[in-house]
């Protein structure tokens, strides 16, 4: 029969009593009484006088298992490859990279123009050709390269920034970038007119760029567990993002004296256009996936 506790356990009991005493400002006598009770209970368990019920057994299991949040973090570190990245974080990353690249490009382009003008006064500031030539790399290729890079990091078991950042930082970054993007956004169609490019070609170019960009978003968000709804949601969010980043520019254009449409009509039309782009991208992506699935099912040639 056990009738003495080892010094370590005694210390732990003492510490627990002190914790209760400090929290409730209890005197030494009460502390002593609680300590005696805890000792009795512990000895009763050790001597088999107290049986362990289901509830108590669960407490033991939980305590022995360790802190759930710590364990979660450790498991995520080991199984990062299998850990699911939420759609919200993927979308946040897509928005930040898409807006970030455009904003960075615009301000860099703007200052490079000014610098070129200072060196060479004949330099055509805001060259439409240069801007248009940079659009596809900026809107499509660069975001795709960056997203592909982070997907590879995920596959390698690393945690890219969009998994580490707190939600508030992600939302803040999106807000700032959307404001900056809205301030710089201009009508690409107008640039085509300046450059004297054929209207049909300009329309094709202006339509293909957002469709391609949306398709990249869909590729980025279409990850295990694959759900058609997730891809649809991504397309919807892309339409809202594209519309919101273009809306301030749309208002500016609408407010021009030469425009006869109301701001509300212009915004509604812009939104409809973005939704159509998203639909087209969704359709193209679905077709591409089906084609890829079909080719992977075909038996390999011997």
């Amino acid at each position: 029969m056990v009738d003495e506790l080892n010094p370590d356990t005694n210390e732990k009991i003492q510490a627990l009593c002190q914790k209760i005493s400090v929290a409730h400002n209890l005197d030494v006598e009460i502390q002593e009484e609680l300590r005696a009770h805890m000792e009795d209970k512990l000895l009763a368990y050790l001597n088999g006088e107290e049986t362990v019920g289901e509830e108590d057994a669960f407490i033991l299991v939980r305590e022995h298992f360790g802190d759930p949040s710590t364990l979660k973090g450790l498991l995520q570190d080991v199984h990062a490859l299998k850990a699911q990245v939420s759609l919200a974080r993927r979308l946040a990353a897509a928005i930040i990279v898409s807006s970030g690249v455009v904003v960075t490009f615009f301000y860099t382009f703007f200052y490079l123009n000014i610098a070129a003008f200072r060196v060479w006064p004949a330099f055509p500031i805001g060259s439409a050709y240069a801007y248009i030539a940079a659009l596809v790399p900026v809107y499509v290729v660069l975001p795709w390269l960056l997203l592909r890079h982070w997907q590879r990091q995920l596959n390698a078991g690393n945690n890219p920034w969009f998994l580490r950042w707190r939600p508030v930082y992600l939302v803040g970054a999106i807000g700032v970038l959307l404001v900056l993007q809205s301030l710089q956004n201009s009508s690409v169609g107008m640039l085509f007119t300046q450059a004297g490019i054929h209207p049909l070609l300009s329309r094709l170019f202006v339509s293909a760029t957002p469709v391609l960009q949306c398709t990249i978003w869909l590729w980025w968000c279409d990850r295990p567990p694959r759900k058609a709804r997730a891809v649809g949601n991504a397309a919807g969010i892309w339409a809202v993002w594209a519309w919101s980043s273009a809306s301030v520019a749309m208002i500016r254009i609408t407010a021009s004296s030469w425009n006869t449409q109301s701001i509300a009509t212009h915004l509604a039309l812009t939104f409809c256009v973005m939704v159509i782009y998203a639909f087209v991208a969704y359709g193209l992506y679905a077709m591409a996936r089906r084609a890829a699935a079909g080719s992977s099912r075909r038996p390999a040639k011997s």
Partner: protein, 109 residues
Amino acid sequence: MNKELVGASTGLLVLGVLAESASYGYEIVKRLNTEADGIFKWQEGTVYPVLHKLEKDKLVRTQWQEADTGRRRKYYYITAKGRDGLTEGAEEWSAVHKMVLRLAEPDHG
């Protein structure tokens, strides 16, 4: 079981345990849980506020005693005032109990 109902009766139940024999914290909780027979389980720590309130109201008195093992325990003894309180309380509970049963009868009213 309703926690409020148990909370309201704990003082009386502790007095009932002490009316049989003087006891200390751990033993009182053990006795209560045995008597409850699974209807309710008293948490170890929650009995002390009740015991200290009973002591403050002079329904119980305390005395430190040393066990054979050398460990000191604070024993609780029921006082005369405590016994009166237990009788009164039991009568009150009995009256409420009867009233509840009467009102809860299907053909009542």
